[in-house]
């Protein structure tokens, strides 16, 4: 990030004639570099989407053909091509961030829109989660089964069953009741239509997150152009988050709505937004204590309680108490272990085959220490948005179950926070995550 990037809008230069502070030679270089980076970003995204459109591959989940019209240009997506495209995307993203302070807003908005739309047009990338979302909806609507009590294995005859990830077939939903209810209407659609609706929801949530990021940045006196670029052209946001149509985007939208409401002095809807986010994915609840400590207003408590009450009234008749039992879902997820988690990597570094129960306890303790420290700092005047972002990042880093889209939680908060270290830390964690994916690039070509 350039020093004049996100923090200091007054010093922004640019490519357009209206911003002629730089010499024309520098402007030309900036324009040329930005042009190259833009082309690389678009080409890498197109490469992944067109190759993925050919269908099932090691990185692409089995899916009904929803993007057959894109077939015929690419080749089946392999690890190497994907990783090279991801690395090229990341390098171009870094280049664009370095130049962001000098780029015209229209350029950045057009680029981010193009990246989002290209991924939207393509197939589901890198995750089977969206099929789980649809399966839970069909369980409830079509089969009359409570998705908080049973996994998709109870609907073996349903056409969605074959697309759900094998790890999740016996897993009841871990998502909040608001999201589950919100997804119920898609159960009435055919599978392809349901997928498109899910993709469209993710696209809308992404657009909403980006608009709110822009508004929040401007409200805080931060240059909105680099802020928009940092989120909307982020490789993990575009390829993994939007590509997989993850509901994390709906959660981040509601989190950013909460920040925007707070900046507008509307504490009640801000708190209600955080609770709504937590009722999509419980992680969003991490914002609430920091908001409460920072605002110290009755409206915040009333807004939060009102949304909890509303959610309870709506979800209890449908799911019973199970829909609100987030502790059970958290405990279950906390026991999962992924090879990409930092805990697993550190265990390997110390010669252990993986994480043990004691490691789970140590990680929870570390997270608790971090959260208590941040709560105290927020009480004493630290930016609550930054504290929330640090907490979300700490949750991702200390989790033994780390997935790419978990590293996105703190990103929109980081770009509008008053502590720039949060953005560096979030991008560093993402960089390390991407670096960890590169193993196949150094391995022999054929491992069958």
């Amino acid at each position: 990030m350039s020093p004049e990037g996100i923090a200091a809008p007054a010093s922004r230069g640019g490519l357009g004639p209206a911003r002629a502070a730089d010499g024309s030679g520098t402007q030309r270089w900036v324009g040329a570099l930005a042009g190259v980076c833009t082309l690389v970003l678009l080409a890498a995204t197109l490469e992944i989407v067109l190759d993925a459109a050919l269908g099932h591959a090691p990185l692409i989940p089995r899916s009904p053909e929803i993007s057959a019209w894109l077939q015929g240009v690419g080749e089946r997506l392999g690890y190497r091509v994907f990783l090279i495209a991801l690395l090229a995307f990341s390098a171009a993203y870094a280049g664009m961030l370095a130049l962001a302070g000098r780029l015209p807003a229209r350029w950045v908005i057009a680029l981010v829109a193009a990246l989002n739309l290209i991924v939207f047009a393509g197939p589901i990338l890198l995750s089977t989660d969206v099929f789980s979302y649809i399966a839970y909806a069909r369980m409830g609507v079509v089969h009359g089964i409570n998705p908080y009590l049973h996994g998709p294995h109870t609907i073996k005859g349903d056409e969605i069953y074959t697309y759900v990830g094998t790890d999740w077939l016996r897993t009841a939903t871990a998502y909040g009741p608001l999201y589950t209810l919100f997804s119920y209407p898609v159960a009435l659609l055919g599978l392809k239509a349901a997928l498109w609706v899910m993709k469209f929801e993710a696209l809308l949530a992404s657009a909403g997150t980006l608009v709110l990021t822009w508004r929040c940045a401007r409200a805080r006196g931060i240059d909105p152009v680099p802020a928009l670029l940092a989120v909307g052209a982020n490789p993990l946001y575009v390829i993994y988050g939007l590509g997989g149509a993850h509901n994390d985007l709906i959660m981040t939208f509601l989190m950013m709505a909460a920040v925007a409401f707070t900046l507008a002095g509307r504490d009640a809807p801000a708190a209600a937004s955080v609770v709504a986010g937590a009722l999509v994915k419980v992680t969003a609840a991490a914002l609430l204590p920091f908001m409460l400590l920072s605002r110290r207003s009755g409206a915040t408590i009333i807004g939060a309680l009102a949304m909890v009450l509303l959610a309870a009234l709506v979800s209890f008749p449908v799911f019973g108490l199970h829909g609100l039992d987030v502790v059970a879902a958290l405990n279950r997820d906390a026991a999962l272990v992924s090879t990409d988690s930092f805990a697993t990597e550190i265990a390997h570094l110390f010669g252990k085959p993986g994480v043990f129960p004691i490691d789970h306890d140590l990680l929870k303790l570390a997270l608790l220490v971090i959260v208590v420290h941040l709560l105290w700092r927020t009480w004493r005047g630290y930016d609550w948005v930054a504290a929330s972002g640090w907490t979300l990042l700490a949750i991702a880093v200390t989790s033994t179950w780390l997935l790419a889209w978990y590293t996105l939680w703190s990103l929109p908060l980081a770009v509008v926070s008053r502590d720039r270290r949060l953005l560096f830390a979030t991008l560093a964690v993402q960089g390390l995550f991407i670096a960890h994916q590169t193993g196949p690039l150094f391995s022999p070509v054929s491992v069958s």
């Binding site: 110290r296 990597e345 390997h348 085959p353 005047g381 270290r421 590169t438």
Partner: protein
């Protein structure tokens, strides 16, 4: 009640706390030491993660290279160019000893008698040496009670406990028989 008076009343409430416990609207200046400590911890954490990731990538690359050599050796020694070969690593002992099992004749994976080779030692010319092995009946897990017809180093190690089924393949694999 007006917003201003509510804020004032809230302010009165918090003012009763001792100064070090009172909430603040903005952090006091001069928190540089705390920031330095936090930043140092962040940098140290980043370095630890970076080293762990490099270590993990190197490890996985070594394992992938070794397994490629194992697969090549299995195909060469058995004379079968199959793709569905199971590989079991020594995850408990952390050694580079791998056991590779595949069908003795064409068919669905695991549905026919399996020949298993024990691979050890360094990679030489893209392949590894095997000094022993055994057979497994169809659809049986690789456990001592299911293994039969041990050959090479597997005999001395006592890896087999099952009798050879009548008519089942049991000949030592040439080049892997010690």
């Amino acid at each position: 009640m007006s917003g201003a008076s509510a804020a004032a009343r809230r302010g009165d409430f918090w003012e009763r706390l001792p100064e070090p416990l009172r909430p603040r609207e903005q952090e006091r200046r001069g928190r540089g030491d705390l920031r330095r400590v936090e930043s140092t911890l962040l940098v140290l954490a980043f370095l630890l993660f970076a080293v762990a990731i490099v270590n993990d990538v190197v490890l996985s690359t070594h394992v992938a290279t070794r397994i490629t050599a194992d697969l090549r050796a299995w195909r060469t020694l058995t004379g079968h160019d199959y793709h569905n070969i199971s590989v079991e690593q020594d995850l408990k002992g952390h050694t580079t000893r791998d056991v590779l099992c595949g069908n003795t004749s064409p068919g669905p994976p695991g549905a026919l008698p399996q020949v298993c080779l024990i691979m050890t030692g360094p990679i030489v010319h893209g392949t590894r040496a095997s000094h022993g092995g055994f057979y497994l009946a169809p659809f049986t897990p690789d456990k001592r009670i299911n293994r039969y017809a041990c050959f090479g180093s597997a005999v001395a190690a006592g890896l087999c406990a099952a009798p050879t089924p009548t008519g089942a393949p049991h000949a030592p694999v040439s080049g892997a028989d010690g």
